[in-house]
């Protein structure tokens, strides 16, 4: 349990400040520790942090309000969050949530922004966006720790442990076991071994030669956008600035993506080596690994890898004995915000603020962390870069297509016999992945996450490559027993929840799309609503401020085009239907006036034809 009377809030904050420093940019990290300790951020902590870090109370409160894992009011001593990705739902998470709620004596169902909190303060149940355990779900987080492979038995046991108040460290270890499930190894996964070879080559041949190898390889970013890595490094290197920074984007928030989790588990050395090589090339002395809060359980492991590498002379001052080659890495935790995967929001978050996207340009390569030149790359990109510098650019070019050198690591989940991690050369057709993972009667594939594209069988011959189907790695499979509208609902709710709220097309458009989809689901939708969906989706694509809003309507627009029947079969007969139940909207007035005559009702059918 979290709360012990012995530690005061002020005392805890003072200790956190003493150990982790008074840099205002550490605000978020302090807040996360307070949250973990007290199950909320008490007013006293807001006051103490505001005073010590010289940030306004409003800023502190704004950060608490922004991050889904920070709270102003206490959550349960056991704070439970069910992962609510569509893949969790397909594995039966809704049933398990109901079961747990019932076992704990709670009422209702948790929803976005509405946690159920038991009155004795022992336990609370809420939702989380995809926690990255899609190949071993349904999953939940308890006090930030991931629990996988939920079934009725496990949920029953969890309810018992909560009732008995058993501290987490005495819970059965297998609850917290996370499997790697690597099913297909290629260029990158084939060999996890490293002994600092990339760094040695960097030091032997110099930064120019290393950068030339990255250039030769044609390596492009694996986080989604596919920007040429060498170009990014070169821009950063040549940008004017006093300091330079390397940031590893381990936010992995895209629903259905979990390959970075596996890379950080088994290939952390190579990832860190890639970051260190980058530091050598661009001349950075500090780096950050931004780890999504959902992967809190990886923190001790990653800290120990960093520590070991420092001891081995591969990190820290005078790397491999080279004067002037100093570089160290800090791990910063996220706190449940998908938008923080977007590089400029990530940097804001690194600086302790709300993760709201920045205006671009300037891009991070010229003005990133602390407004200094900064490289932000995905975990997989750093891993590939380390090997490219070690084995040379042609090594990567040995696989892939014209515009997409090398391989792509996919996170495969949904309806298939063998979900997990698959590495393929770029150029691999979708049907190959489907047959390898044992998918049958596949109705649709959602590629590159909720923000990606919905593929119908007509697309299964298309290839995974930047020139055809670019992907950040998520590959969710839906067989023909599924109602794809369940996926659409799930994603629409996800984007409405995750919009950072900065710009209207995404903040309002996302909510409107969600409401319209729900209206169709309820059998109240009309043709008119479908045209509204298209219209709003087009505005969001065109007018949103960042990639979240640009991609948020993809799933609805794609399914409207490719799977129109999932909408059509639910439409009401009228050309236009009200967006709420007119007669039910008179319920309060009927009660107050004590009337129930025919005049006190509104008929659903208007008889209109427009």
């Amino acid at each position: 349990m979290n709360v012990s009377a012995a530690v005061t809030v002020e005392g805890f904050v003072a200790e956190s400040l003493a150990t982790h420093g008074r840099d205002p940019r550490h605000l978020l990290q302090h807040l996360i520790r307070v949250q973990q300790r007290f199950s909320y951020v008490p007013d006293a902590a807001v006051e103490a942090l505001s005073a010590a870090l010289d940030v306004t109370r409003t800023q502190v409160r704004a950060a608490i309000a922004f991050y889904a894992f920070l709270h102003e009011r206490p959550r349960g001593a056991f704070e439970i969050r069910f992962s609510d990705n569509i893949t969790d739902r397909m594995l039966g998470s809704r049933r398990l949530i109901r079961l747990l709620i019932e076992r704990l004596g709670l009422m209702g169902l948790p929803a976005w922004g509405r946690d159920l909190i038991r009155s004795d303060g022992r336990v609370s149940v809420g939702l989380a966006s995809c926690t990255g355990m899609c190949d071993q779900g349904p999953a939940l987080l308890i006090n930030g720790q991931a629990v996988t492979n939920l079934d009725a038995q496990r949920v029953d046991r969890i309810a018992d442990l909560v009732q008995e108040g058993i501290p987490l460290d005495r819970w059965p270890g297998e609850f917290f076991r996370v499997e790697n499930n690597i099913r297909r190894r290629g260029l990158l996964l084939g060999n996890p071994a490293t002994d600092g070879a990339a760094l040695r080559r960097l030091l032997d041949e110099g930064a120019d030669a290393a950068l030339a190898e990255v250039e030769r390889s044609g390596l492009r970013g694996r986080g989604g956008a596919g920007f040429t890595t060498a170009l990014k490094w070169r821009f950063c290197r040549e940008a004017p600035g006093t300091d330079r920074y390397v940031v590893c984007n381990a936010d992995e928030g895209e629903p259905g993506t979990f390959k970075d989790r596996v890379l950080l588990t088994d290939y952390a050395d190579l990832v860190i080596e890639g970051m260190t090589v980058c530091a050598g090339v661009i001349g950075a002395r500090r780096g950050f690994l931004y780890l999504r809060g959902e992967y809190l359980y990886l923190l001790p492991h990653l800290e120990s890898v960093l520590q070991r590498r420092r001891a081995e002379g591969l990190l820290g001052a005078r790397i491999l004995g080279r004067d002037g080659f100093d570089f160290d890495i800090e791990i910063h935790l996220g706190a449940g915000a998908y938008i923080c995967g977007e590089e400029s929001a990530l940097i804001e978050s690194l600086e302790g603020k709300r993760g709201v996207t920045r205006k671009r340009p300037p891009f991070p390569v010229t003005s990133g962390f602390d407004d200094q030149p900064t490289v932000v790359n995905n975990v997989e990109t750093f891993l590939a870069a380390a090997r490219v510098v070690q084995w040379g650019g042609y090594w990567l070019r040995g696989e892939g297509t014209d515009q997409s050198a090398g391989s792509k690591i996919l996170s495969v989940s949904g309806d298939c016999a063998r979900p997990g991690i698959y590495e393929y050369p770029f150029g691999t057709p979708v049907h190959r992945v489907l047959s390898d993972c044992g998918a049958e009667n596949t109705q649709a594939v959602q590629i590159s996450g909720a923000a990606g594209a919905t593929l119908s069988p007509a697309d299964f011959d298309r290839i995974i490559a930047f020139e055809d189907l670019p992907t950040a790695g998520s590959f969710m499979i839906f067989d023909d027993s599924r109602d794809l509208l369940d996926m659409v609902r799930n994603f629409a709710a996800f984007f409405a929840h995750e919009s950072c709220g900065f710009c209207t097309p995404c903040r309002v458009g996302g909510a409107l799309l969600r409401n319209l989809v729900e209206k169709v689901v309820a059998g109240q939708g009309s043709e008119y609503d479908l045209s509204e969906i298209r219209h709003i989706g087009a505005v969001m694509r065109q007018a949103s401020y960042c990639g979240l809003g640009h991609t948020a309507p993809n799933h609805v627009l794609n399914t409207l085009d490719k799977f129109p029947s999932i909408y059509r079969r639910r439409l009401a007969r009228e050309a236009h239907t009200p967006s709420f139940d007119l007669d039910a909207a008179l319920s309060e007035a009927r009660g107050i006036a004590g009337r129930n005559d025919p005049g006190a009702h509104i008929h659903a059918l208007s008889g209109e034809t427009a």
Partner: protein, 179 residues
């Protein structure tokens, strides 16, 4: 004469400010009556609605009668326009949506300052209030939205003339900026 487009207007849950703004077109009202025939509208005091080409709706939907009138307008008018903030998004009356209906009624008819004869009215003649105030597009399909509180007379004029001449509707910037 009979061939002129027919126009109807109504104020649902609004303050009549949008109708006042329509009257603010001043002497252009004379041009307007040459261009159109007014059907049901507070300007003519005609209370029944015939088939129309254009319906202008002020105000949001707050009670059962609003629903009925709005639906009739939708049935009768080829083109329907939401005029003003209340019609477009509920506007000022929608501020009551933050409170329960009973709470609002108690404040108005029982507990408020200066209330005589306290008691919430109940009479079949009085339309029942909806739990919340809604923009009109949540009840029927709307073809055009004319924002503003109220939209300026010039904006209304621009809309009417463009619409009647069959031109695309476009406003000079100064007619649609609100600061």
């Amino acid at each position: 004469m009979a061939d002129k487009p027919r126009v109807a207007t109504v104020s649902l849950c609004g303050c009549f400010g949008c109708h006042m703004s329509l009257l603010d077109i001043d002497e252009r009202i004379l041009q307007l009556v040459d261009l159109v025939t007014f059907d049901r509208t507070p300007l003519t005091d005609i209370k029944t609605l015939g088939d129309c080409d254009l319906g202008l709706i002020e105000g949001g939907v707050a009670n059962a009668e609003n629903v009925e009138v709005l639906r009739e307008f939708r049935r009768r008018c080829k083109t329907l326009v939401a005029v003003g903030a209340c019609a477009v998004n509920g506007g000022i009356p929608a501020m009551r949506n933050q409170f329960g209906l009973a709470e609002c009624l108690r404040e108005s008819y029982c507990d408020g300052i200066g209330v005589h004869n306290p008691g919430i009215p109940s009479d079949p003649e009085i339309p029942l209030l909806l739990n919340q105030v809604h923009p009109i597009h949540e009840v029927v399909a709307i073809d055009y939205f004319l924002p503003g509180c109220p939209p300026s007379a010039d904006a209304i004029w621009t809309f009417l003339t463009a619409f009647l001449e069959g031109r695309p509707i476009a406003f000079p910037y100064l007619q649609i900026h609100f600061d």
